[in-house]
């Protein structure tokens, strides 16, 4: 059976799914360098990410939906990062934490990737070298916002596509 249009039920379900997702990320810390230390600070008792429901830190990509890339990604590490990102199930989000992951920072150098967006899509960039734990939490909370916004965009795109299809018919 095909669902006709946007029923009340499906939009509610979408909303519910978004709400539950955005309040229970299972982060995968891809920590390589200094930022990973601040990430440890974020999950430890002073800042305690579990207050937002994000405490289930998973080191297996197959069990997580939020990748926090904390630290410099070098050209040697790039294939690893790509592979781990590919192993994460959809829907997934990426937070690029710190200057190195975002843009290479001040390492304009022969072995450093100039931003992880060369190989994987990034949802939120958090500047800082390293960002303070609050900065990271602010960035992760932005993802929440982004999820709601993306759903809206997705729905509009679907509507448009459907309209086009009808015109063609």
């Amino acid at each position: 059976m095909e669902l006709q249009g946007e029923s009340w039920l499906t939009t509610r379900l979408d909303k519910f799914a978004d709400w539950s997702r955005s309040n229970s990320f299972w982060p995968l810390p891809f920590g390589t360098a200094c930022c990973a230390i601040e990430f440890m600070g974020t999950v430890s008792s002073h800042y305690d990410m579990s207050r937002f429901g994000y405490e289930v830190v998973r080191f297996s990509p197959r069990q997580s939906d939020l990748m926090i890339v904390a630290g410099t990604i070098t050209d040697k590490m790039a294939p690893v990062l790509k592979r781990i990102y590919d192993q994460m199930p959809d829907p997934k989000w990426v937070v690029s934490m710190g200057a190195c992951a975002c843009s290479g920072g001040f390492y304009r150098a022969y072995h450093v990737m100039q931003g992880i967006d060369e190989i994987i899509p990034v949802d939120v960039y958090v500047p800082g070298c390293p960002p303070s734990p609050e900065g990271l939490m602010y960035g992760i909370l932005q993802i929440k916002e982004k999820i709601a916004r993306d759903r809206k965009a997705l729905r509009e795109r679907a509507k448009k596509a459907k309209g086009k299809g009808r015109d063609a018919a």
Binding site: H46, C102, F106, Y125, P127, C129, S132
Partner: protein
């Protein structure tokens, strides 16, 4: 030989008598467990520690360390290196004179400036474009150190996140806007409130010196002219 090298001069001979220095031990002496330890008895004292912490926390006998961000924030000092601020003159125009010192001193080369002639003849130049790539910036504060005009300082604002690389290039308008007039939000900068008195005195002294020098120069000129 008579050549003396400075590392050789700085040797503490007494340290050479410390254990293991003359003869590096070949044998290992690992820790032996006592009878009580074999029976896991000292675990009880460990349990007491965790129980102590549990009760201290649960009954709030000591304040909780967790900071309830975002409602509550850690009080950072007045030196925190956060989002940059371009300060303004009393008339609201940008104080920067586009001397490029900050861009030169930036290890990340994240500052982009385009200079132009200032309409006011007393001020030589001003920046038409002043952009900081926030994602390149490593927040080292070197731009603040370099600025001879106190035109760039830092705030203690760390709430930054961008959805795209292009969004992260922050222009003049955004740098001039935030927190400029809220002293509580200021971060790393040449002066701090606690040092104000001292610095004011120093500044006064410096101004006096300059004035004296000028007066002297003027006097010399008058003498030469006369």
């Amino acid at each position: 030989m008579s050549v003396s090298h400075d590392l050789a001069a700085n040797v503490n001979r007494a340290a050479l008598a410390l254990p293991g220095v003359q003869q590096h031990p070949k044998e290992l002496m690992p820790r032996r467990m006592t009878f009580a330890e074999r029976l896991y008895l000292p675990l009880l004292s460990g349990l007491m520690v965790t129980i102590k912490h549990f009760f201290l926390n649960i009954f709030r006998i000591r304040p909780r360390v967790t900071i309830q961000y975002p409602e509550e924030r850690r009080s950072y000092s007045h030196r925190y290196r956060g989002h940059h601020i371009l300060t303004t003159r009393p008339d609201g125009s940008v104080r920067c004179v586009a001397c490029f010192l900050c861009a030169t001193n930036c290890p990340a080369e994240c500052i982009h400036i385009e200079a132009a002639e200032h309409p006011d003849v007393n001020i030589e130049k001003y920046p038409v474009v002043y952009e900081i790539d926030m994602l390149r910036c490593v927040f080292c504060g070197y731009c603040v150190d370099a600025c001879p005009e106190e035109a760039i300082i830092m705030s203690n604002n760390y709430d930054m996140a961008f959805f795209s690389r292009s969004q992260s290039i922050v222009g003049k308008a955004d740098l001039m806007k935030p927190f400029t007039f809220d002293p509580a939000k200021l971060g790393y900068r040449p002066y701090y409130p606690e040092e104000d008195a001292q610095h004011a005195a120093m500044r006064r002294q410096a101004v006096d010196l300059v004035a004296a020098a000028k007066a002297k120069a003027a006097g010399d000129r008058a003498v030469a002219g006369g």
